[in-house]
C-alpha cells in the first residue's frame, strides 16, 4: 500500500501526469450524468431479460432490432457522405483560403434535420401524407419510400456529408504539393488521386466517416419523423414514461457499438511515421476539379436547396400566407436564438479555457469525452441530466435554484456539443509553430501567460468556428430540447416537431422554412463575424 502511495506521489510530481489527471477528472465530470442515469427506474433485467407477451417481440429483441436499424442507417448515411464529401473535400482543397466556400459547404449541416424532413416530404411523399399525417398512425396509406431505413440514411447522408468534406480538405490541401505533382507526371489524375492522395489522407477520411456514422446511428429526429424505430427512438420512448434506468440500459448497446467503431477506426487512422514528413511545394493542379465541384453542387442541392424549396413551396401552397405561420413560431424562434447564442458563447469560453490551460499539451481525454457525448443518443444524455436534476432536488431546495429556467437545457447543449470547441481548439493549437510557445517559455512566461498571450490570439479563428457551429447545431437540436426545455420556453425545434405530428400543413412548412432560414442566417452571421474580426486583425 505504501509502495502504491509512493508511486502515485512520484507520478503526481510530474507535470505531464498532473495535467493528464486533471483532464481525465474533467472528462469524468462531463460523463457523470450518463452514469447517474443508470440509477433511475428500470434495470438491465427489465430491458434484456424481460418476458414478451404472446406473439409480440421481447424487449431484448426490440432493442437489438432497433440497434440493427440504427447501424444500417448509420452505414448508409456514411456511404453517401463519403460519396459526396470526398470529391467536395477535393474541390475545397483547391480553394483553401475562401471562407465563403466553406460556409457554402456547411449549409446542409446547418439546415435543421426536421426542416429537411418537411422539405423532402413535400416533394417525395404521397399527397395524403403531406396533407394529413394522422391517418398514417392508423396504418391506412402506404407512406412512401422515404419512410424506411434507406430514406433515413438518404436524408442523414445528405445533411452530414460536409463533415467528411471538412475533415478531409486540409489533408487534401497538404497532399496537393509536389508529391501530387510527381504523381501526375506518370499517371492520370484519377489514378494519382486514388493511389497517392487518398492513402495520404486516410486518417482524416476515417475520422470523417466515423463522425458521420456515429451521428447518423444516434439520430433521433429524422428516424422518429420517418417512423423508423431506431435505438434512439426506443430510448426516447423509455424516457417518455419516466423510466430513466431503462432508457440508459437501452442506449448501452449503441454506446458499445459506437465505442467499438471508434476504436476500430482510430486504430486504422493511427498516424504512421511518414505523417510527420513535410509535404511541400506547389500543387500540380493543371485542371480544375470539375467532378468535385459537380458532386459538391449535388450535395448542396440534396442537403439544402431541395428541402428549402420544398418548405417554401409547402408554405406558399396554403391560403393563409406565410405571415400567420411565422408569427405563431416567432416566440419559439426567439427562445431558440437566445439559448443557442448563450451556448455558443459558453462553448467559445470553454475552448478558450482549454487553449489557455494547455497551450502545448493535447487534451485527448476531453476530446474522447466530447466525442462520446456527441455520439450517444441525445435522449440518453437528457435522461442523465434529468436524473441529476432529480437527485439535486431531492437533496433540498438549496441547490434547486441552479436548475431553474433553461439552465439545464443550456448545460445539456453545452455537454452535447463539447466536442466542437475542444476538437477545434486542438486543431488550432496543432497548426501553431511550437517555436512560438517555446520562445515565450524561454522569455520566462508561465503557462497561463503563454496560453493567453500567444496561443489564444493565434487560435481564435478555430474557436469562432466552433462557436458558429455550436450555434447553428443548437438551433436544430431536438432530443435534449424536447426533454429539458422548461414550460413556457419551448425552442423552435420542439415546436416544429410537435406540429409535424399533427400533419404537414402549410403552417408546418412555414415553420420549417423559418427554422432553416434562421440557421442559414446564423451561419452567415458567424462567417461575417469571422471576416470582420480578421479585417480588424489585419488593420492592427
Amino acid at each position: 500500500m505504501l509502495q502504491v502511495c509512493l508511486w502515485v506521489g512520484r507520478l503526481m510530481r510530474s507535470p505531464a501526469w498532473r495535467d493528464r489527471l486533471a483532464q481525465v477528472l474533467l472528462a469524468g465530470l462531463c460523463l457523470a450524468p450518463l452514469l447517474y442515469a443508470f440509477h433511475g427506474e428500470g434495470s438491465f433485467h427489465s430491458v434484456f431479460s424481460g418476458a414478451s407477451a404472446a406473439g409480440a417481440v421481447s424487449p431484448r429483441e426490440a432493442v437489438f432490432f432497433a440497434l440493427g436499424r440504427s447501424a444500417a442507417a448509420g452505414a448508409g448515411a456514411m456511404a453517401l457522405a463519403l460519396l459526396l464529401g470526398v470529391p467536395a473535400g477535393w474541390a475545397l482543397s483547391a480553394r483553401p483560403r475562401a471562407p465563403w466556400f466553406l460556409a457554402l459547404c456547411a449549409l446542409p449541416l446547418a439546415f435543421p434535420p426536421s426542416a429537411a424532413v418537411s422539405g423532402w416530404l413535400r416533394f417525395f411523399a404521397p399527397g395524403e401524407v403531406v396533407s394529413a399525417f394522422n391517418p398514417l398512425l392508423q396504418g391506412l396509406p402506404a407512406p412512401g419510400p422515404l419512410f424506411s431505413i434507406p430514406g433515413v440514411a438518404l436524408l442523414l447522408g445528405l445533411g452530414l456529408w460536409p463533415i467528411v468534406a471538412f475533415e478531409v480538405w486540409p489533408a487534401f490541401a497538404r497532399a496537393r504539393g509536389e508529391a501530387h505533382a510527381a504523381a501526375l507526371l506518370s499517371a492520370t489524375p484519377v489514378r494519382a488521386f486514388f493511389r497517392i492522395v487518398l492513402p495520404m489522407s486516410r486518417g482524416e477520411l476515417a475520422a470523417g466517416a466515423l463522425l458521420v456514422f456515429v451521428l447518423a446511428a444516434s439520430d433521433f429526429t429524422v428516424s422518429s419523423l420517418l417512423l423508423v424505430r431506431t435505438l434512439p427512438v426506443e430510448v426516447d420512448d423509455q424516457l417518455a414514461v419516466q423510466r430513466l434506468g431503462s432508457a440508459a440500459w437501452t442506449a448501452l448497446p449503441l454506446v458499445v457499438l459506437i465505442v467499438a467503431v471508434t476504436v476500430a477506426l482510430t486504430w486504422g487512422r493511427r498516424r504512421p511515421a511518414w505523417s510527420q514528413e513535410h509535404l511541400a511545394g506547389r500543387a500540380g493542379a493543371a485542371a480544375r476539379p470539375w467532378f468535385g465541384y459537380g458532386l459538391l453542387a449535388a450535395g448542396l442541392a440534396g442537403g439544402f436547396v431541395l428541402p428549402l424549396a420544398g418548405c417554401l413551396a409547402g408554405a406558399l401552397s396554403g391560403g393563409k400566407g406565410l405571415g400567420v405561420a411565422v408569427q405563431s413560431g416567432l416566440p419559439a424562434l426567439l427562445v431558440s436564438l437566445r439559448l443557442a447564442a448563450a451556448v455558443a458563447l459558453l462553448a467559445m469560453v470553454l475552448g478558450a479555457a482549454r487553449v489557455a490551460c494547455w497551450p502545448r499539451e493535447t487534451a485527448r481525454p476531453l476530446v474522447w469525452a466530447g466525442l462520446l457525448l456527441l455520439a450517444i443518443p441525445g435522449s440518453f444524455l437528457a435522461g442523465g441530466l434529468l436524473a441529476v436534476e432529480g437527485g439535486v432536488r431531492s437533496w433540498g431546495a438549496s441547490g434547486a435554484w441552479a436548475l431553474s429556467g433553461s439552465l439545464v437545457l443550456a448545460a445539456g447543449w453545452l455537454l452535447r456539443f463539447l466536442y466542437l470547441p475542444v476538437r477545434l481548439a486542438e486543431e488550432g493549437l496543432r497548426s501553431l509553430d511550437p517555436a512560438l510557445l517555446e520562445a515565450a517559455e524561454l522569455a520566462g512566461h508561465g503557462r497561463l501567460a503563454r496560453g493567453l498571450g500567444v496561443a489564444l490570439p493565434l487560435a481564435w479563428r478555430h474557436l469562432l468556428a466552433a462557436g458558429g457551429l455550436v450555434f447553428v447545431l443548437a438551433l436544430g437540436e431536438l432530443p435534449l430540447a424536447d426533454k429539458l426545455s422548461p414550460p413556457g420556453a419551448v425552442p423552435l425545434s420542439v415546436w416544429l416537431f410537435n406540429q409535424q405530428h399533427y400533419g404537414y400543413t402549410e403552417a408546418v412548412f412555414a415553420l420549417s422554412l423559418l427554422a432553416g432560414v434562421a440557421a442559414v442566417l446564423g451561419l452567415a452571421l458567424a462567417v461575417a463575424l469571422a471576416w470582420w474580426v480578421r479585417g480588424k486583425a489585419g488593420e492592427a
Binding site: G177, E178, A179, H180, A181, A182, A183, L184, L185, S186, A187, T188, P189, R191, R195, I196, P199, M200, P272, A273, W274, S275, Q276, E277, H278, L279, A280, G281, R282, G284, A286, A287
Partner: protein, 227 residues
C-alpha cells in the same frame, strides 16, 4: 530523345493581380542536350520547369516538344502524356510508398512488359545504390538516399525529357559527386534532353552544355560551357 521549344511564354502567379514570374521567355533545347538554368530566387526557374512539365499553364506563348504544341492558348497536353521525368526541389516523395512501390507506380504507366519493368527496376536500384533498400519508406531513408530515390523515380518511366529542380541541394561533396556521375552516365546512355536548375556553378559545369541566366522573368544571357 526530344527537343524543347519555349516560345514567348508568360506566366503570372497569384491570380490576375499577382506577380509576373515569366515575361516572354524564349528557350530552345536541342535533342540530347543539357541546359542549365540559373538566376536569383523568384526569377522564374521553377515556374519554367513546371510549365514545360504541364503542371501549370502559361498565360501567353506556346511550348512545343518535338515540334508538337503541348501548351498553348487552346492546347494543354496533360503531364502524364508528355513523357517527362522531374526531380522536385522538395523531392515530392510519396510518404506512404516504399522504394519498390515508388518505382512500380511509375513503371505501371510505362509501355514496358512486366519482365522489362522488373529489369528496369533492378537496373535503377543498382545504378542509384538503392539495392537492398526496396522495402524502406522515405521516412526511413537518409537525406542522400532520398535524393537517389527521387532521381531513380524520375528516370523509371519511359521518359524522353528530364527536368531537375535543384536536385543536389543538401548533398555533401562526395555524395554529390557520385550522384552527378551516376546521373550523367544514365543521361548520356539514353540521350535524355535535360534542363537543370541549380545555384551551383560546378554542377552546371559538370552536367550542362550551356547555361541560361534568368533575370526578372526574362532570359538575360546564354553561355556555352567550356569543357
Amino acid at each position: 530523345m526530344s527537343r524543347i521549344e519555349v516560345r514567348e511564354v508568360s506566366k503570372t502567379l497569384g491570380g490576375r493581380a499577382g506577380t509576373a514570374v515569366l515575361r516572354g521567355v524564349v528557350l530552345y533545347v536541342a535533342e540530347g542536350r543539357c541546359v542549365g538554368l540559373r538566376g536569383a530566387t523568384g526569377s522564374g526557374k521553377t515556374t519554367l520547369l513546371r510549365l514545360i512539365a504541364g503542371l501549370d499553364r502559361p498565360e501567353r506563348g506556346e511550348i512545343l516538344l518535338d515540334g508538337r504544341i503541348v501548351s498553348g492558348p487552346q492546347v494543354h497536353v496533360p503531364p502524364h502524356r508528355r513523357r517527362i521525368g522531374f526531380v522536385f526541389q522538395s523531392l515530392g516523395l510519396w510518404p506512404h510508398l516504399n522504394i519498390a512501390e515508388h518505382l512500380d507506380y511509375v513503371l505501371a504507366a510505362s509501355p514496358l512488359k512486366p519482365d522489362e519493368r522488373a529489369r528496369r527496376k533492378k537496373e535503377l536500384c543498382d545504378a542509384f545504390h538503392l539495392h537492398g533498400l526496396e522495402g524502406r519508406f522515405p521516412a526511413e531513408l537518409s537525406g542522400g538516399e532520398k535524393h537517389l530515390l527521387a532521381l531513380a523515380r524520375a528516370l523509371a518511366g519511359d521518359v524522353r525529357i528530364l527536368l531537375l529542380d535543384e536536385p543536389f541541394a543538401g548533398l555533401d561533396g562526395q555524395l554529390k559527386e557520385w550522384v552527378t556521375g551516376a546521373l550523367a552516365s544514365w543521361r548520356r546512355s539514353r540521350r535524355l534532353t535535360t534542363v537543370l536548375v541549380s545555384h551551383d556553378p560546378q554542377d552546371l559545369a559538370r552536367l550542362c552544355q550551356s547555361v541560361v541566366h534568368l533575370r526578372e522573368g526574362r532570359i538575360a544571357e546564354t553561355a556555352e560551357v567550356e569543357k
